[in-house]
Amino acid sequence: GSDDDAASGDLDRVTIQLQLPENGLFSGFWYGKAEGIYEKHGIDLVIEPGVSSQAASDAVARGTVDFTTSSFPSVALNRVAGNPLVGLAEVIRGGNQGLLVGSDSGIESWSDLEGKSVIITTGSSQKPLYDAAVTAAGVDPDKIEVVNVNQNVINQTFASGGADAVLTLFPFSEPLVAPQRDVEAISFSEAGVEMPGFFLISSEEYVSENADLTERFVQATLESWAGAYENQDDAIAAMLAENPALKEEDAGAVFEAFAANGCGVDDNGTWFGDFTAEELEGGVETLVSSGVLEEGAVDLATTFPRATLDALPAEGQYDCADLEGDS
């Protein structure tokens, strides 16, 4: 509207490309925009629609957009492949990933996978995690039927019984699949496989040239996401206002599932958005053990700079008390 135009004169324009068509998962960005959180930090945020994780990462590396979100393996692999991405804040915790299995499949742990079929999203960077988990569980990978299925249809295929298990981000799949099929979650950590979660990312060049703006953006985003988790109905309303194709209950279910895991201090005492060196090293170890990354190929200090996090979070900034009880 015209109010924004007047204000945007003194705001810094920042663009973010999403990784999927809009989804409840990304409500935090719209919430922050709608509530004026970005504006408060002197930022005019432009949210660009996205089609895939890699397309968004490519766009960030190219400088076409300033930010996106991406998984830890994706950041690492992109760096090796020549895209100098940096991870700024961990917005989704790593524990959200693993196998979703049908309750009727007879799978209770990673070691039960022999003779079963597992759906893996084509084009995702989850395969190395799966390899590591299978190896750690001592299962012969040749005895598992791995089926690559396009991201657009994994939930559908799994919900309709197309396989015994699906490798996924639980909050992405569970709320949609559960009404159709009884499911259990088996996380990677149950196989002893360590993996950080999803990061707010940018490019090395952008961060070094816009240090202050980056810091403000990270701060605004963490504030926005935490606020959204706190005020779910508003966050969803903000998102639906932009996306008439979405149904409120779908966006809500996905968002709620993410929110249940996303806010406050985790078991290690890290704040929402923050990450630890051990966590990153564990992730590298997992990728190295499954052969997709060479030891020392990624310099963690430059790839995951903490500078923008140093100012954050002030104790008590996020009040997630209402949410923590839900999980």
Partner: protein, 253 residues
């Protein structure tokens, strides 16, 4: 003959009705889950409920299809003409064009996105990449089917090569060209849909994509139905144009 003309639309409607009944039976007594294939009646209801959303998006898709198709016709026919006119051009381009046709377009998606961004331009590129080949191949077929003697006729009557080509050869090739356009039109629809699903942020197939990733299958199939009807209408529009442009072939089939 006269009787069968009047029967044709009726038969077509009957065919569609039979297909719908089969769909209904498969979902009700056939035991196919609603997450895979929703019941046609639910889809119908969803069509009503999402009327506005679908209408808002159909224009975008239609634009991608029509502009992309028009570009494909221009490019496909021009290439066929150039390849007809010069065997050097023909020799140079044939393997490259076949290669481009064969490459799975989805593998080129990152390249297309890098160059043209997410949105309608990429959509058009994808539509053209998919649509141009059958148009090109059928146009070439049409030209090669033109009796050598007609070309002789044109030149001995004082037509320049170009004029003979446009006045005599092109109309003779038209029936074959239009077969290419009919296939091409359905591919343009497929291409536009694919582009919206994999490289888009708007349009009917985008709605379908969003709905189906939320497992809202009734809504996804409502969008799919709109897309299919759009495709069928555009296909028949193409055959109608052929019929109107080529009265001399009407008796034939």
């Amino acid at each position: 003959m006269r009787r069968s003309r009047g029967r044709k639309p009726l038969l077509g409607a009957l065919g569609v009705a039979l297909a719908l009944i089969a769909w209904h039976l498969v979902t009700t007594v056939g035991g196919v889950q609603a997450t895979v294939l929703p019941e046609p009646l639910d889809v119908l209801r969803s069509l009503g409920d999402n009327r506005q959303l679908l209408l808002d998006n159909v224009g975008y898709t239609l634009r991608t299809i029509l502009i992309g198709f028009a570009l494909s016709v221009v490019i496909g026919v021009s290439l066929a003409v150039a390849m007809r006119a010069s065997s050097t051009v023909d020799g140079l381009l044939t393997p490259v064009i076949v290669g481009i046709q064969t490459v799975p377009k989805i593998a080129l998606l990152p390249v297309i996105l890098a160059w043209f961004g997410i949105g309608q331009t990429s959509g058009l590129v994808i539509v053209v990449l998919i649509t141009v080949f059958p148009i090109l191949v059928n146009t070439r077929l049409g030209f090669s089917g033109v009796d050598e003697e007609f070309r002789s006729l044109g030149s001995v009557m004082g037509g320049s090569r170009a004029r003979t080509f446009w006045t005599i050869e092109v109309p003779l090739a038209l029936p074959a060209i239009f077969s290419g356009l009919e296939v091409g039109m359905t591919l343009a629809v497929t291409g536009a849909a694919g582009a919206e699903m994999f490289a888009g942020s708007e349009g009917i197939a985008f709605v379908m994509q969003v709905a189906s990733s939320a497992l809202r299958m009734d809504m996804a199939f409502a969008a799919l139905t709109v897309l299919t009807v759009l495709g069928v209408v555009l296909y028949y529009a193409t055959t109608l144009v052929a019929w109107a442009l080529m009265p001399w072939t009407r008796g034939r089939s």
